[in-house]
């Protein structure tokens, strides 16, 4: 009887994770794709040095970060995948969402400074375990770079 309750609890968590997690992921991807279109004109590169045409520009550090949590379904699928090895797609999409969201937020910051270019972009990823003992819990992604702010027109 007790194990039956446990099984029921497990299945409930699994389906909650599956439905809500999928919905959250779909909505998030929609918003990412829409905003990527919107910020397409803000160029982000990993170039280390500004090219000569940016003489006269100011530099400003811009960053964007996001913490995204896994859902229960993803954790279970990843656990099963661990047994046989191979790609863990559920985690791949999690990190993909986090990276793209972090870049978008950085671009937003650059736009607020009136900059069109962000160079030397770098990523920093860290695991936030929270109270999920094993598994990844949630991930934080930070994207940062140097925005090249054009000088004011009347200067």
């Amino acid at each position: 009887m007790e194990s039956l309750i446990q099984l029921g609890f497990f299945i409930a968590l699994l389906s909650l994770g599956f439905f809500f997690g999928r919905r959250a992921e779909r909505k998030h991807y929609q918003s990412i794709i829409a905003r990527e279109d919107q910020y397409r004109n803000i160029v982000v590169t990993t170039e280390r040095l500004p090219s000569p045409e940016f003489l006269g520009h100011q530099t400003e550090l811009v960053a964007g970060n996001v913490v995204i949590s896994v859902d229960y379904f993803k954790v279970v699928v990843a656990g099963l995948r661990n047994l046989v090895g191979g790609r863990i797609r559920t985690y791949e999409s999690l990190l993909d969402r986090a990276r793209r969201e972090a870049i978008l937020r950085m671009q937003e910051n650059a736009l607020a400074l009136n900059a069109q270019y962000v160079i030397n972009m770098k990523f920093e990823t860290s695991r936030i375990s929270g109270n999920a003992g094993q598994g990844i819990g949630s991930v934080e992604v930070l994207a940062y770079g140097t925005a090249l702010v054009p000088p004011p027109l009347n200067a």
Binding site: A24, F54, L55, L61, N65, V67, I68, L142, Y144
Partner: protein
């Protein structure tokens, strides 16, 4: 104070290198938020409270770094890098470090 993660700043010339400066902070969120995050681990989605916390911590780390740079007479910190590590359950350390320099207009 110019803070940048590139080495060369347009229109400026580095006149003096003053060495490495750093700033760090260790933060934790209160237990209630941690419990909420635990629930989120079932449903998935963004943890807004943590995003905010880490952003604030990073700003604090940058502030401490620039204070240190100012104390040794620098007016810019170049090649800034960030590093995050979870040092205990529920607490994370954020470090910002870079090279303190004195720059002049070219």
């Amino acid at each position: 104070m110019i803070i940048s993660n590139i080495e060369v700043i347009p229109n400026k010339r580095v006149v003096e290198h003053l060495g490495l400066v750093q700033g760090s902070t260790v933060r934790a969120k209160h237990a209630g938020k941690d419990i909420m995050a635990g629930f989120k681990n079932i449903f998935g989605g963004e943890l807004g409270a943590y995003t905010e916390l880490l952003q604030e911590s990073r700003e604090e780390a940058i502030k401490r770094m620039s204070e240190q740079a100012e104390a040794i007479g620098a007016n810019a910190v170049v090649n800034v890098r960030f590093s995050t590590s979870a040092i205990a359950a529920g607490a994370s350390e954020i470090l910002a470090y870079g090279t303190a320099v004195r720059v002049e207009d070219r």
